[in-house]
Amino acid sequence: MSDDDDEENADEEDGDANAIHRLLGLTDEEYGRILTTLGRDPRPAELAMYSVMWSEHCSYKSSRVHLGRFPTTAPWVVVGPGENAGVVDIGDGWLAALRIESHNHPSFVEPYQGAATGVGGILRDIFTMGARPIALWDSLRFGPLDQPRNRYLFKGVVAGIAGYGNAVGVPTVGGEVGFAEHYSANPLVNVMCLGLLRPEQLVLATAGPEGTIAVLLGAATGRDGIGGASVLASASFADQSANKRPSVQVGDPFEEKKLIEACLELYDRRLVVGVQDLGAAGLSCAVSEPAARAGMGMELDLDMVHVREPGMTGPELLMSESQERMMAFVAPERLDEVLEVADRREIQASVVGKVISGGQVRVLHGGELVAEVPASSLTDDAPRYERPLGEPGWMEDLWGNTVKFMAQPAIATSLLQLLAEPELGSKSWVYEQYDHMLFLNTVVGPGHDAALLRVKGTNRGLALSTDGNGRMCYLDPRRGAARLVFEAALNVAVVGAEPLAVVDNLNFGNPEKPEVMWQFRETVEGLAEACEALEIPVIGGNVSFYNETDGLDIYPTPVVGMLGLVENVPTPAPRLDRVEAGMDLWLFGPEWSINLAGSAFEKITFAHVGGRPSPPDPTMAKAAIASARQLAAAGLPAIHDISTGGTAVAVAEMCIASGVGATVAYSDWRHLFCEDPHRFLVAATPEQGQTVESIASDIGIPAARIGVFGGAEIAFDRRGVKAALDLEVATTTWQNAIESRLG
């Protein structure tokens, strides 16, 4: 508490906690900055604009000083961080646009609409760039499913993603779901979207020269989502009796589908100079950011905005986060054509403003000037904080808190216990509710380490994976974050892809706590170090702070989205379900450690979270990635990253997917459950053994034949002593892990 008081003088200066700027989420210091900028008291509409534009969500004011640490350049990067989405060149005349974003808080308040509008928002970020959105991924975290409220949130979020994604017609081809107590009061809903475009279709969110016309396209503006970005609704602006609408927006996938097709036609026909989607901060953002980018000003007439209800005030119109809206910037001579497209595509369009010289955003309402502020003061000149940070005192204790195992546990029982957990069990209950096949690109879909999409008309494919591991990052944010990058890169490599670019979604607690800022800084360092080691640029990201409820912060949960490129999609591609009896099981990766810190085994079997995870090894990471890619290209049927649950679970996943048992030799039981990075499994016919060995020795990575597939058991053998789990029991348990808890 004391730090934010010092910094923001929250309660000292005057006692009026109801001062309008405070109700809007602005601190007294920030209010002072506004006074200095304008040289006068702000008008209500101006205050509204600053409150949303300077919110943590829009301005990244707590994180920006750290985010400069990321490597962001590479020859294939076309658009780096700062635009609506990152864009990379994937060859053969195609670009890929990628973006990840969180919708954590709305999803906790209203899971269906919160998740649905998260999907809608990320799609707009992609088609704003000129790209057709072709696939979605979700990274989700909830509290344990034995609590009714968590079941409600989980079901609601999945239904929201399905309801919006399926109807808007963009397939959800992958993702991940995790469960831990720390997310009970604060679920995480991160959504990633991939789009494809031709280089000449690239559109940037710039306003263009003086006289360019601003056309608002799509849904009518209503009172939903007012101040969603700045957390607080604007009760004190409106009549006290006015209805307090929820700050969660409401989505309409049908409107969005029409908007996508209309915008793509506008781009194809070169009818627009630039576009900006209306997401957080609504119209305030859609006029100020493009104007600031163009070094111009903008005049906006709120009376021209098509509205859903009468009597909205200027601040309400400026702050509304009504969904499915886009601002197009159009040269005057192309206006009629733009309006014709809108009419034919059955979307509403209003001419609401024009680009002016001078750098001021001028807003008119009811014929009066209600706001006049410098565009750049809302965007580039937003506050930046170097928040104090400090290593939490409990890290040393946490690292010292390890489990002393007295005896070897029953391996088969432990494995079954892991497979029964929602975190490790089948996610088919989730992804079978999502259309994951639309557009006929899905070569490898959900349920694998990465999704593989072909690019029609070429031999190329794009592999994408999302990875997060809050438990590991809690135990060591820097190591945990670096391991995520390496794991995500290995995930795309096992389907044959070369890692190309990273987007990240950084979910953290309250940044005003020094220990949370320390976790954040360490995480950024870990991500940056790993990206540098692999020479992969970060092309975009999102930061979500204040994921705390009742003082309990979530685990630091960075989520890494990795885009990989396959130049020749192998046919058939490696898949977990292509294992056959008689094939050998190979293990690639470094020598075993016996470190179980942060593993699912310790958490689930011993209810323990402690110790310090092993550091990643960049040299080994590169060797693992290179060898996995070569194995995929050489036609090996199944290649699988070893991740949560360790080798035992990874073997079981291959067996269950293929309906075939296995016998695996081991020397120390801890090797079976250890989650140390840079390891993966390969299924190979005996004839392919030579290929496997030569790839391993060429690259210089240890590889060993550790088992053979066949039979009706998943068996682990130590010098002739066997622990076996019946495959059918394993399969049923794994398949029902989520469904059986939903009742």
Binding site: N166, F254, K257, K258, Q433, M437, L440, V569
Partner: protein, 230 residues
């Protein structure tokens, strides 16, 4: 296509693979004389608001679609297109929510129950096909018992009456199919069984009707109509 249709590009892609020359037609078009057959692709026409297909049946394009059906020309509705054909009265029956009350997206096995329809004439009775299902309202109900089931689920996933996965009218020229044949058009996508059905729809097995036609530039999209065989 209708506003909200989203499988039109896929349907056109697969029909082209099957040898047709498909053209996308917007739902406001009230004339389809130049076409030999029509496909209503899947999606969420008009957002599925009110009831699936309930608004789409009033679109101008449905007039000529009905005329084509009456004239014995090939008419195929896939998923949402099937629902629209039922709403339009071109096929008997209606759809309700899946018996499990959740959306289902996965491959299912269907068995060819009858080969006397435009969709199944090129298949073999009893043949099992692997096709992706992708629907929430996929549970077919036909109190009139007049719909002829031409494809039947092996393991009825949505509770459809009689296990109906595809239903034809009496003449066999109008067919609705709930799974997506266009999604099973290439081995790399997991199955190419859908091509058996699409080729059948285009008149495979009746080669005398096939002619090559010059490709025409694709117009804007709506109900994917096919200019297939001459």
């Amino acid at each position: 296509m209708f506003p909200g249709t989203n499988c039109e590009l896929d349907a056109a892609y697969a029909l082209e693979l099957a040898g047709a020359n498909p053209e996308l037609v917007w739902h406001r078009q009230a004339e389809l004389d130049e076409f030999d057959g029509v496909v209503l692709p899947g999606g969420f026409a008009h957002g599925d608001y009110l009831r699936t297909g309930a608004i789409a049946r009033f679109s101008p394009v449905m007039g000529p679609v009905s005329e084509m059906a009456a004239a014995g020309k090939p008419v195929l509705g896939i998923c949402n297109g099937f629902q629209i054909l039922c709403e339009a009265g071109l096929l008997p029956g209606a759809f309700i929510a899946n018996s499990g009350l959740s959306f289902i997206c996965r491959f299912v096995d269907v068995e060819v129950a009858s080969t006397s329809s435009i969709l199944t004439q090129g298949a073999t009775a009893g043949q099992v096909l692997r096709l992706p299902l992708n629907s929430y309202q996929g549970n077919y109900v036909d109190p009139t018992l007049t719909g002829r089931v031409v494809l039947r689920y092996k393991d009825n996933p949505n509770g459809a009456q009689g296990g109906a996965a595809a239903v034809a009218n009496e003449a066999g020229n109008v067919v609705g199919v709930m799974p997506h044949p266009e999604r099973a058009s290439e081995a790399t996508l997991g199955s190419e069984d859908g091509m058996i059905l699409l080729r059948s729809f285009l008149g495979d097995g009746r080669p005398e009707t096939r002619q090559t036609e010059t490709a025409r530039p694709s117009l804007r999209a709506v109900s994917g109509s096919t200019r297939s065989d001459g």
